[in-house]
Symmetry: C2
Subunit: 808 residues, 2 copies
Amino acid sequence: MYRRHRFMKELRAFDNGALSLDETLFHNANGYIGVRGAFEEGYPQGYASVRGTYVNGVYDIVPMPQAEPLHGLVTEKQTLVNIADIQDVKLYVDGILCTPLDDGFVEGCRILDMDDGVTVRTLVWKSPQGKVVRVEVKRMASFVRLPLFLMTYRVVVDAPCEIQFVASHRADVCNFSDPSDPRVASESLKHIVVDRVESGPETIRRAGNRKTGYRSLISTHAATSEIAVVSAVQDEVSVGGPDGQESAGDDAIDVMEELFPEAVVRTFTVQGRADRPVALTRYAAVSDGLRYDDPSQETAKVIECAVEVGVDGLYAEQTEYLRAFWSDVDFEIDGDEALSEALTFNIFQLLQSVGKDGRSHLAAKGLSGEGYEGHYFWDTEMYVQPLFTLTKPEFSRQLLAYRYSILPQARENARALGHRKGALFPWRTISGKECSGFFPAGTAQYHIDGAIAYAVVMYYLVTGDDDFMEKMGLELLLEIARLWYDLGNFYDGKFELHCVTGPDEYTCVVNNNYYTNVSAKYDLVWAVKYFRLFESKGLAGKAREATRISDGELDGFLAASDAMYLPYDAKLGITPQDDSFLSKKVWDLAATPVEDFPLLMHYHPLTLYRYQVCKQADTVLAHFLYEDEVSRDVMERSFRYYEKLTTHDSSLSTCIFSIMASRLGFETEAYDYFGDSVEIDIHDTHGNTKDGIHTANMGGSCLAILFGFAGLRIKDEGVFLSPSVPHAWKGYRFTLKFHGRRVRIEVGGGLVSVRLLAVEGHVSWPVNIFIYGNPMDMSTNEQSFPLRRVSTEDVSQESSSSRSREIS
Amino acid sequence: MYRRHRFMKELRAFDNGALSLDETLFHNANGYIGVRGAFEEGYPQGYASVRGTYVNGVYDIVPMPQAEPLHGLVTEKQTLVNIADIQDVKLYVDGILCTPLDDGFVEGCRILDMDDGVTVRTLVWKSPQGKVVRVEVKRMASFVRLPLFLMTYRVVVDAPCEIQFVASHRADVCNFSDPSDPRVASESLKHIVVDRVESGPETIRRAGNRKTGYRSLISTHAATSEIAVVSAVQDEVSVGGPDGQESAGDDAIDVMEELFPEAVVRTFTVQGRADRPVALTRYAAVSDGLRYDDPSQETAKVIECAVEVGVDGLYAEQTEYLRAFWSDVDFEIDGDEALSEALTFNIFQLLQSVGKDGRSHLAAKGLSGEGYEGHYFWDTEMYVQPLFTLTKPEFSRQLLAYRYSILPQARENARALGHRKGALFPWRTISGKECSGFFPAGTAQYHIDGAIAYAVVMYYLVTGDDDFMEKMGLELLLEIARLWYDLGNFYDGKFELHCVTGPDEYTCVVNNNYYTNVSAKYDLVWAVKYFRLFESKGLAGKAREATRISDGELDGFLAASDAMYLPYDAKLGITPQDDSFLSKKVWDLAATPVEDFPLLMHYHPLTLYRYQVCKQADTVLAHFLYEDEVSRDVMERSFRYYEKLTTHDSSLSTCIFSIMASRLGFETEAYDYFGDSVEIDIHDTHGNTKDGIHTANMGGSCLAILFGFAGLRIKDEGVFLSPSVPHAWKGYRFTLKFHGRRVRIEVGGGLVSVRLLAVEGHVSWPVNIFIYGNPMDMSTNEQSFPLRRVSTEDVSQESSSSRSREIS
């Protein structure tokens, strides 16, 4: 029952919002390059467009003056750079621009084909003379050749006419700005400086005949960071017979090429005949000076190889890549097409977004837009990375390698914040340097350290990758533990953490944020535990040398962890978000006008700080991640308490509430929150997908399946599942990879089936899978268990029975 | 024993720091205009100078972009404008510029004559030809004619030579900038736009003969605020005989005048003869569009009147003004010349700084420089205003009238911060609009409301000014009480104030800052008490109408006040600064390198927030102001505790520690802290007096005499004094005005003498003065009491015995 992964949208509404939203939804990216899905021909004046091309990790530096220049505040930031326009192709039929935005529009649609890894835009257009023009534009960012962007632009007309492609390659581009929205950059800046524009026809041999591709190369650098970026574009136009075969040589095509200081424009003119397709093929390659010694040479090489392989071969290898990917990451909901499509869409977008080379990470908006200026946050570790760790652990390792690569800057950041030891990862960054303009809601979110340590621990629990731990993981854990230790203060027998901000940004710079404290406690324990483990394996030498960690420090970590203060309110029987949260006034959400949401856009931060009101899951997230610290009753009361205070103004919220509802047996809520989460981008429910996708929520929607409905826990002893199925669904399935064993779990039809799909590499550890606490027989390839309706009591018992194991 | 109030400095060091420091120390101001004491001829390139002329209340508006544009953050600010250069006079002798900054310097000094209200600069200079030139420049900002600045520049030579004055009137001026220091503005901006430059000789009749004054007028406006500012300058040159009489008519003086787009330059050339003085007299007047309908006319009028009166008459009326002032504000320390001079200096600077027209206030730096951008803060009310209330209550009323004038903006500010009712005064402002760039250390300092209410209450206690209360005071008190009520939250039976910042900026946005809570409690009680009092007098109608206050609200104020949470730490027996202060790590001040002070210049705010370390008195200030809330023991333990944590990086600190030490009977500390406080500017002990004087500390040094050594308390029942004298002194004296009675208190020689100097106006209240708790016999004009050595026990008893009276 192999399902097509395909998302289609009829072209109808052409308002500003719809166009820029679609630029996000249909963007092409591969974790290295990202190209917004603008109409190739552009829009008339007055239409907003974020027409960008981005390279993961390539940034410029812009000044960020502080209103009051207090010591140590960050005064410059990195920003993702719009590096060039490589999608600019205009089609003229008898001299008239062919665009859906005029009266000639008949019909059209946009398709994201997630099996083939391409987007397709179709258009039927009638010229003023009544000639019918059919257009199909297919594009991809290659997963196999990361610098490659490919476009095939095919036209069929129903009557003789002049067909003209004006195909540009431009570096006269700017970043987008919107001074009114704190979530996007507020300055419009041209970040790219053009160093060289070159062009010239290249002769291409293919299948025995000769044709001409026109190639241009634009060398640029980011104005302030001076990072070199080169883009190369090769265009060729072919004319086919009715059977689709090429029928004409170069001589039928009139070509004119113009060079401008920052652009190259090529005009191809063909005499069109009825039903004879004319196609423009564009090979574009992008490379950068961060990764390549000679980026120009790299682009040339990529284009030459791509041309050699040819369009069909390139599309085929993309399809092959996706086939393998969907087999590794095989999530499906049975009985709800819409949610299943949304989930697939989310996973595909994460694949498009994730940096795969250890030189870059996964930005809040992936490579789909300029929201949050392309910065990397903690969300990746907490919301996205578990999915990759459990399905594509090689991606996870690359993400952690990136974090390891910025460890020196994280150490510097810690020093700047007054810590004598340890590493504090920047709250938002591309290069590794902190870019938070408002530290109370930025740098003060120390819990990003907790997220990175959590990702390291889970990665090792799932993969057993000793090599990673030896080379990077241990050092990360130790430096993070040191930071917590230096941050905290023993007071009255308790270890307290002051002046930090938890995930909920509606309350900033507090003492003993529960989430932060429990996460620090966890990190301190695991740092010691893994360091001792690797010592016993004889693999701790590099970490010891790099950190010069002492036994006294390790003892200190354990003492701090033991004494870690975890606030608890006996009167309400819940976990307070922080020391003073519960003594604040309760925000009257019911009385708040609907147009006042998100609150951050309508209230002064100090007003928000003064109330019990949450932007997102904070304590509830802590209870999900570190469930062994509290009883089920406290979890439930806390869930109910915070649910009433939470606006979900952050996209990081509903997925967590879904997970927690699942765990508590609140099926309806779990289902509803999941629906809210999974459709945020595909249905633009937050109204800002035009600025880019919400990658963390996309990951979170997958976690809601895994850790929510399927009741997944990852422990030293193995994989624990206690699945349930919402009434509205027949079931669902997903794959997991655990210590080299790939398994598929199908839930539905009254059964939980576990099938061992493959064993990869050397598997040294015993691997155990527990369904509802019962071990699976690992000698068989497939086993089924009766699906249980998980009652409240079951959850409670299972949770408490496994407590000591997980973090001891 | 009338002492000369005179401060002199030999000219010796001519480094950058000394020159700009002297520009502050010898500035001329009168509460309306301020002119920095630059050398008239300027300095060669490379010397830093803040060569400014300011008008109190005249500002421009500059953008203040926020690094992250969160909702409601302030994004523009007002800044005090350098309006023109009216002190630019260059003296050339035989074509060589006469300046102490070249090899011709022989000797010179600068004098601030506080009896005559003038500054004098003298210079003996030898020309390259060996001619000796003696210069005396005398200047004043007139206290009698606020728009008037007067300068007389007198030259005597010992040999024939050419004497040339190049006298300019310029509006091509900029504000000063230093991007590296958060305490001064970070952008250099030309704020003045010149609208019109006019010039022409004016014929002046005087004493029967005719001479010519050359007058120029430059009309300008501030670029963004569009406030008009006009300056007029009239220069005349006279040549005198050896006896000082004028001996030559205009014909002996060659005059050339040049008009430039933003300046007028006049060159006067005279053939100098030995011992025949040549003098340039400059009358300058400044006026503005905030106060005058036709500022040009105003300046002309002021100049004409001044010329009519003549130089001698103008200087004489200034002397007369000062004589009266020093008789009203007669502070002197017997037995310590240096401290006494410093104290006098401070009082004089406050007189120069205080806005006297209800249209302006008293800036942190007065009119002496551009530090803190000319903004008004809470410090005036808490540190300076008590001095004026007790000696020059008419100044106090004008200051409060200014606050009342910005009540509408304070209400708006409260709404912007999410308060449904009440007024929140801006933390820093000129026009009334908030200018805080970093709200955690700005707008969050709600205690500014407490300072204003405190000033109202003390003003009424001291003056019994019903008219003020009826028209302004009650409304201020009620709107402030409303703010506290709206801010707070009843929790667990207590009324709590969350997310505010107390005076100590090394800890920001905390809950239940003791200082703020106790100040709010006080305000709530007095608002109700005075409203009821004025109701009973039939004088509450205006306030009731303006505020529509209800009885329910008033009851609420009392309930909140009763329930006000005042944190107390039983373990240490002290008042914690806020809810979490005592659970933080203690900053190791002993281990902090001396070059790391002030800490704010060397540590990230988040680092400071995380420690027990104080920039200034906070809880200690609360104990001084609201002493009846705690026992003497708690005060003492708190004093000792906070003393160890306080860096005194703020200039608002040591004066308070001195007062509190006096009250606790710690004579040595009281004396030492007083010395630290009183000399901050005169000896530039904080190293930044070049940016302007520290008015609040100057006031604080006077309060240290009054409320510290003299043990002054102002209560409903009268004036309470319990004086002591530091061992190092013989004694001290000061004057007070209480309900129209002016008294002089002299302490020394084993006695406390109280002398009734005058009774002014209608005195309706019984006025009581208590010395060590004993009532003075008010039927006599003078009475003496034996000076008591105040023991610890006395203080304690007196404090507790008067507790219930003060705030009940």
